[in-house]
Symmetry: C2
Subunit: 374 residues, 2 copies
DNA sequence: TTGTATGCGTTATCAC
DNA sequence: GTGATAACGCATACAA
């Protein structure tokens, strides 16, 4: 009986002690030793769909669990050239205003076997600094909700790094993007407001470098021009609450009167504008002034606001971004694709959306606008 | 002239083409070849504080930049046993309500040379599933803003994985924690409200498994009992906006009248409660009813609300968590430490904080409470 | 199905 | 200061 099979448990405990003494990690080789098989057999047991006999599998798994063995992803990625990590580059701003974006992305990517390595930017211009890290960490791909320049994109191509831009576009290059049609959203909003007879518009824009807010503004201005309405008074904003109130005052000052409608580059500014109008200036909204925003952030549908706004279909967009990226990573689809989603109009109650039942006099301008869009 | 030194540039371009043809990554060996040095020399050039001559350094860096070489973090971590990645485990809930937490953590950890690998939980109970991944990815440490059981903690210890709990505690084990003193916050709030003469309290609790909301409730109840005030009517909530309104109605129904004050487990519920009181039930706040919350989320200080609440010092707490974790990782500090921060009282305008200038009759109960806390 | 041998790209150790 | 060489922990081609 010299060849009596060593009890797995005893060997495992002993071996575990040895490993602890040597202060090293548990490796597949250790498991192999305890299970009495080769290291490659262990490796195969942890690869789904590999050919292993039932008995070997059982022995290996038992040993692995006794030793608390977990495969080392770093070593694996070294040889498979897959880290199963995806970098998400997002500005603090974006994360603050759309927390659900990160949650959805994380959820969707996890469902596809990828983990999120987070890169946050204090400013949009910090991209260069984080990109260096992105290359180091050998991520399988990148989802960027930040402004990348043509040069950045070129580097992605040079390094064959799959990339999906989220709510950013770049005309110069063919690149995968997932966006909401902010231009269309801006136009849609103006159409609805104009149809209700609004003529004098004010616009509180987002920060200079916010492409999203810029597109919205551009869409609104375009549509206003098409309808033959007077050009809006546009004032700058920082996309925050304060900018809403400040913007409202600036518009009134510049216009010399309260406008018919104010379009804000984001809901938070719209809420700031609304609060300022109602609680500071005593302006009746929507009686005397209509206020509308974009995004449909959570507070926008609270009773105190019930904001007229346009919703980006974030969950769908996040899913699309994850799909697109994984298609490139897993199936090497190199054709650039753009997935564009439409914003959904939320009526709310801060904008008058039907024409005033004109008593006697209608301004000819108002009527013209009404006709123009019909 | 057979030994003429090959021009670096030409060699680099050639070599780059070779690498591209072989469809492999650029390695330190490639750089060494182009720079005309050994692979170890290249490695040293990328290790801060290593001993390399100026000229070698320059040659290597030039070659590296020509080849677009970036060290492979996976290979590095394999041998250094440092991934420079930190796992952040956070519930979707928490991320939705405190987006600044993740931003701050990311910021602070980046400043310390660590990257955030994100693990989001749909439910607090999903911890088990993500922990398996955490082990795989060889992170250097974990910051967990999720409920871990005693068993989980045991596994962290077994694997020698540095851990910092964020806003969660565990009495059974000595573990690093960063928390806000929610019990104290609950007590503080009751003290202030009681001092103003409030006697009949309602409490809208958070979800069953929210330790944070539970602590707050416990603190409030404790203090009420100490002050000899009647026990509050406690109703459950989901920490969301809807729960605020629903909770208010439930309390009124259960109490048979409008309470003097309602304490909500979170600001969002407080805002829901406030909106319901004012816009649905027409209750004057703070005239007839005081409403208070916790967290000082952004909307809480908007003009429409100006909520009475208590702020958690998130930036400080995030910094503390990063500090604590890095101390364990880098300096192997094994002594468990608890860093507890106090909440800051924000007066706001939704709770009456001074006694009613009693005309003639003061309820003896109210007076007793007043005396008790002085 | 299983084991042997090799390589992934780096850092660390040691001579020189 | 520099270069050879051995790890690190795993996956895979290949032979058995």
């Amino acid at each position: 009986m010299t060849k009596s099979k060593p009890t797995v448990e005893i060997s495992a405990t002993e071996h575990k002690a040895t490993i602890a003494r040597e202060a090293r990690r548990v490796t597949s080789y250790d498991v192999a030793l305890v299970a009495g098989v080769s290291q490659s057999a262990v490796s195969r047991c942890f690869k789904p769909g590999a050919s292993v006999s039932k008995s070997t599998y059982a022995r290996v798994m038992k040993a692995a669990s006794l030793l608390d063995y977990i495969p080392n992803a770093a070593a694996r990625s070294l040889i498979t050239r897959r880290s199963n990590m995806v970098a998400v580059i997002i500005t603090n701003q974006a994360n603050l205003y759309y927390p659900e974006l990160l949650a959805e992305l994380s959820q969707q990517l996890t469902a596809r076997g990828k983990r999120v390595l987070l890169f946050t930017l204090a400013r949009e211009t910090d991209v260069d600094r984080v990109l260096a890290d992105v290359w180091q960490f050998q991520v399988d791909g990148v989802i960027a909700a930040a402004r990348l320049t043509d040069l950045h994109i070129a580097e992605f191509e040079r390094r064959h790094m799959p990339l999906v831009l989220f709510n950013r576009t770049l005309r110069e290059r063919a690149v995968n993007t997932v966006t909401c049609d902010h231009l269309e959203a801006g136009r849609m909003l103006v159409s609805r407001l104009a149809a209700a007879g609004h003529r004098r518009f004010g616009i509180i824009a987002g920060t200079e470098d916010s492409t999203v807010a810029n597109e919205r503004r551009r869409g609104a201005c375009e549509r206003l021009a098409e309808l033959g309405l007077p050009p809006p008074v546009v004032v700058p904003g920082q996309s925050d609450y304060r900018s809403g109130g400040a913007g409202l005052k600036a518009i009134i000052e510049q216009m010399g009167r309260v406008p018919d409608a104010i379009i804000c580059g984001s809901d938070v500014m719209a809420i700031g504008c609304l609060d300022c109008a109602r609680h500071e200036l005593g302006i009746d909204v929507p009686g005397r002034l209509s206020v509308a925003g974009f995004d449909a952030v959570e507070p926008s549908n609270w009773l105190s606001y019930n904001l007229t706004t346009l919703r980006q279909p974030m969950p769908k967009m996040a899913t699309a971004a994850a799909d697109l990226l994984c298609a490139v990573i897993d199936r090497h689809e190199s054709q650039a694709e753009r997935r564009v989603f439409s914003a959904q109009f939320i009526e709310g109650a801060t904008a008058r959306l039907t024409p005033v039942p004109t008593p006697v006099v209608a301004t000819s301008g108002g009527m013209r606008a009404l006709v123009a869009i019909m």
